[in-house]
């Protein structure tokens, strides 16, 4: 009798195992690629403007900072660190614009100073002409 009961239990156990539902497969998380084209292009445009006014020399520190951010953005992009890349590109745009402004300001100062020098030189030439007319003095040092 015991043997019969053990047999039935064994059959039931095997049957239950055979009908157990397969565990459901969970989908792998999908990789989201951010489109950085616009950010990259904005940075390139801002850099071009800064280059046009020669900010690399005319606003050395600001330009160097902007360039570093731009390079870091490129590295982050190549490593598919999209968020960092985007933030760096945005920061680079701001930095290049700043470099442009500083360079433009420095350039204007230089042009103003040159204009003053030109005026001073014109004054000398005018006074030398007048001295020549009046006295035959040409203004050279003895």
């Amino acid at each position: 009798m015991k043997r019969i009961l053990f047999f039935i239990l064994g059959v039931l156990l095997i049957a239950s195992c055979a009908t157990a539902p397969e565990p459901e497969e969970t989908p792998a998380p999908e990789l989201v690629k951010v489109d950085l084209t616009t950010y990259r292009q904005n940075t390139i445009d801002a850099k071009a403007e800064a280059d046009k006014i020669k900010a690399e020399k005319g606003a050395f520190e600001e330009y160097a900072e902007a360039k570093l951010l731009y390079e870091e953005a490129g590295i982050a992009e190549s490593e598919e660190d999209w968020e960092t890349a985007q933030a760096k590109y945005e920061a680079a745009v701001v930095a290049f614009k700043k470099a442009y402004e500083v360079a433009a300001e420095n350039r204007q100062k230089a042009l103003d100073a040159l204009e003053e020098a030109n005026q001073a030189i014109s004054r000398v030439e005018k006074n030398a002409d007048e001295a020549l007319d009046e006295a035959g003095i040409e203004g050279g040092n003895e």
Binding site: K57, A113, L114, A117, A131, G136, I137, G139
Partner: protein, 232 residues
């Protein structure tokens, strides 16, 4: 022969006046050099350097200008001093020094002061002193002259052995008393010359205009030691 000597003298004096032109002035040259550097720096984007160069350019231009102003002040002081000395000579020769002894002494002292100031390179003060002396002597009753006692015109003379030329005319004490003052006379009369670019060729009988110098008033025509209202 005399004319040749006169021309030679002009040729000797002219280089002294013109040897040093503005391009020879080191300060002026520096101002141009720094200006160029400033322009190049702007072109290269080196704006901060460009400002420095432009400021140096201005600084040197101002030095150059100060030098020219000083030379002009020196020239004016020299002319006024010579004018005062010339007038003093005229006053002495005409006997007016004895006629106005006190004023004459004052004028003579002012001329001496002017000379000292001139030698000490105080040209503005020297000029002032000369002007004061001139003003005193011009108050003297003119002797055979009109107005200020200074002719506005001079008729080129034909003097055997002593031919007139711009250099000699400027040197007469009744003109400027300064041979170096020939250039303004030449400039004023250039158009009348047969060869305007050649100051060496003038003819007797030509009526030369004598430009007024600072502090001078001229009128009439100098003829044989006196100033007439009109040319003969």
């Amino acid at each position: 022969m005399k004319k040749i000597l006169c021309i030679l003298l002009i040729l000797m004096i002219t280089p002294l006046l013109f040897a040093q032109n503005l391009q020879d002035n080191p300060d002026y040259r520096e101002s141009l050099r720094y200006k160029r550097l400033s322009e190049e720096s702007i072109e290269d984007g080196e704006y901060v350097k460009a400002v420095e160069y432009a400021e140096l350019s201005k600084e040197y231009a101002e030095k150059s200008d100060a030098y020219i102003a000083k030379r002009l002040a020196q020239y004016r002081a020299n002319q006024l001093l010579k004018r005062a000395e010339g007038l003093k000579g005229q006053v002495e020769r005409s006997g007016r020094a004895k006629q106005y002894p006190e004023d004459y002494t004052t004028a003579a002292a002012l001329i001496e002061t002017s000379r000292t100031l001139y030698l000490n390179e105080q040209y503005e003060k020297s000029s002032e002193s000369s002007r004061s002396a001139i003003a005193i002597m011009e108050e003297f009753e003119p002797a055979r002259t009109t107005g200020s006692g200074l002719p506005a015109f001079y008729i080129v003379r034909d003097m055997p052995g002593e031919e007139d030329c711009f250099w000699r005319i400027a040197g007469y004490d009744f003109i400027y008393g300064d041979y170096g003052g020939w250039y303004p006379i030449y400039q004023a009369n250039k158009a009348k010359l047969s060869q305007p670019d050649n100051p060496d060729i003038i003819y007797s009988g030509m009526v030369m205009e004598i430009p007024e110098r600072e502090g001078e008033t001229r009128s009439g025509v100098w003829v044989d030691g006196e100033i007439r209202a009109t040319a003969p």
